[in-house]
């Protein structure tokens, strides 16, 4: 194996990327796991905000709807990098003020929690639109039929709205998840040690920029392709029982 790598001129790269020191592979994997944790947390938080936001946009009062419109418009117009900086400082400030108001001392916010908060707020704006669109795409007859059978509101949500919405929401949500994994890279600029920052530190410590950036790119690509496959299965499952879309488009 190592002879083969040597033959391909990749011996040095393999050494740099090996999992035990002096190789930096372990650092990259630790960074990847932190990136995934932040992405998963932010995706979850975004989904929660998105559900509430979609509900507010469809059924909320006038003021709620206007505020939500401002939230989604602003978040979608300002670069994530700028939002991350603003939310990072505002968020930590708010938590410290809240803690001081409740009589506590300064609160140390872990990098992961701050990253989840920052990216979650950004994801929430997009998730609101995705879920709102998906709920609106449900044929109104389905909900009316459920109501006609005397189903209570909660059961309608659980048994009709959410399952029927899933098929429309999954492609948008899959896209959001991919954005979440890629946006974690922006946290490198704020100094969170996720995959991209670990990569840069490894690259500049060893001056092997090409090797490490390519390796990190491969890791991100792997995550993207794997999640793409998973979401494709999920979409198939969510569409079960519905007529195939193939061939019938337009």
């Amino acid at each position: 194996m190592s002879d083969l790598l040597e033959l391909l001129g990749l011996g040095q790269a393999a050494e740099l990327l090996s999992l035990s020191p002096p190789g930096w592979g372990r650092n990259l994997l630790v960074g990847l796991s932190r990136s995934l944790q932040i992405a998963a947390g932010a995706f979850g938080l975004g989904l929660l905000i998105g559900l509430l936001g979609a509900y507010g946009k469809l059924h909320g009062g006038k003021i709620t709807r206007d505020l939500l419109a401002i939230y989604t418009t602003v978040i979608r117009a300002v670069p994530e990098l700028v939002l991350i900086l603003i939310l990072y400082y505002v968020g930590t400030d708010l938590v410290n003020k809240a803690s001081a108001a409740l009589g506590g001392g300064p609160v140390e916010i872990s990098g992961i929690a701050a990253g989840i908060w920052v990216l979650g707020v950004v994801q929430g704006a997009y998730a609101t639109e995705v879920l709102r669109g998906a709920i609106q795409a449900i044929p109104p007859g389905q909900v009316e039929a459920a109501r006609a059978f005397g189903m209570p509101g909660w059961t309608i949500l659980r048994r009709v709205t959410i399952p029927a919405m899933m098929a429309f929401a999954v492609p948008g949500l899959a896209n959001l998840w991919l954005i979440a994994t890629k946006d974690t890279a922006l946290l490198a600029v704020v100094g969170f040690s996720e995959l991209t920052l670990e990569t840069r530190q490894a690259a500049s410590s060893t001056r092997a920029y090409f090797t490490f950036f390519m390796a990190a790119g491969a890791l991100y690509l792997m995550v993207t392709l794997l999640s793409g496959a998973l979401f494709a299965r999920l979409e198939k499952w969510a569409r079960r029982g519905q007529p195939s879309l193939k061939g019938g488009a337009r």
């Binding site: 700028v82 400082y89 991919l178 890279a185 922006l186 920029y209 950036f213 991100y220 690509l221």
Partner: protein, 256 residues
């Protein structure tokens, strides 16, 4: 635009009053005395942001059409590389792509001493060619996927009718296929352009002085944190609104 009558509902007036109060509070209690000193630099930064945005779209869109066409109708030896390129660009963070282009390529320079003597060296020393390349490729990658869908969604009957009239293939493409494909993607183009705008601040990490870099400079010179960031966010919102309105206008002008 929202009609004036809709804006003058009681709850909106209240919200606007609250917002005006917030703006007033910002103007009075935050520090803005640094603005005059940094205005020339900010103007220069804004110009850099805008021209890189426009140039990357102008270069990226034709590339996207090629990528879309290759995937939609090309033979496998064109379709596969095009699909691969789109997948790689869409599957990795743009920040990483920018750093790979700038620092990755830069780290290879010392191994090839002749590069420094070449005609291209004055450009290779600058940061903006790398920024422009990365943003162009990124736009082409995302838009190529959209164009693939647009090309394959043009109704087959239209192309068959054109062929039945004996139109040459080139004319069919120019007069029937391309206009309809572009018409199909127009509603998404505005959104994609705003996404591209939101990607531009990343080039500040490779020493290009765009509007974001100017705000970082203010932050590091004066230790003022919120004010430059708020103003920066406002600048991006205004640009995004202009882009949105521009595409809405364009869409109204194009016949269905």
């Amino acid at each position: 635009m929202i009609p004036l009558k809709e804006l003058l509902q009681p709850h909106r007036i209240l919200l606007m009053a609250l917002f005006a109060g917030f703006v007033l509070w910002c103007a009075v209690s935050l520090r803005w005395d640094w603005i005059p000193q940094y205005l020339p630099l900010a103007a220069h930064g804004l110009w850099t942001t805008l021209w890189i945005l426009l140039a990357s779209i102008a270069l990226g869109f034709p590339l996207a059409m090629l990528l879309g066409l290759a995937q939609a109708v090309g033979p496998w030896y064109l379709a596969w590389p095009a699909k691969g390129l789109c997948t790689v660009i869409r599957g990795t963070p743009l920040l990483l792509q920018i750093w790979l282009l700038y620092y990755g390529l830069g780290s290879l320079f010392p191994q090839f001493p002749w590069i420094r003597g070449s005609e291209l060296w004055p450009y290779l020393r600058q940061a903006w060619p790398y920024a422009l390349t990365a943003l162009t490729l990124s736009y082409a990658g995302y838009e190529g996927e959209v164009m693939r869908g647009a090309f394959s969604s043009v109704a087959k009957g239209q192309l068959e009718a054109a062929r039945a009239f004996g139109m040459p293939r080139r004319t069919i493409f120019r007069r029937i296929w391309l206009p309809q494909a572009v018409r199909n993607v127009l509603p998404t183009l505005g959104g994609e352009t705003i996404l591209q705008l939101k990607a531009t601040p990343l080039i500040a990490t490779i020493t290009v002085i765009d509007i974001y870099a100017v705000s970082s400079r203010v932050r590091s010179d004066t230790f003022i944190v919120y004010e430059p960031l708020l103003l920066l966010a406002l600048v991006y919102i205004v640009i995004a609104l202009v882009i949105g309105q521009g595409f809405a206008w364009l869409e109204r002008r194009v016949p269905r």
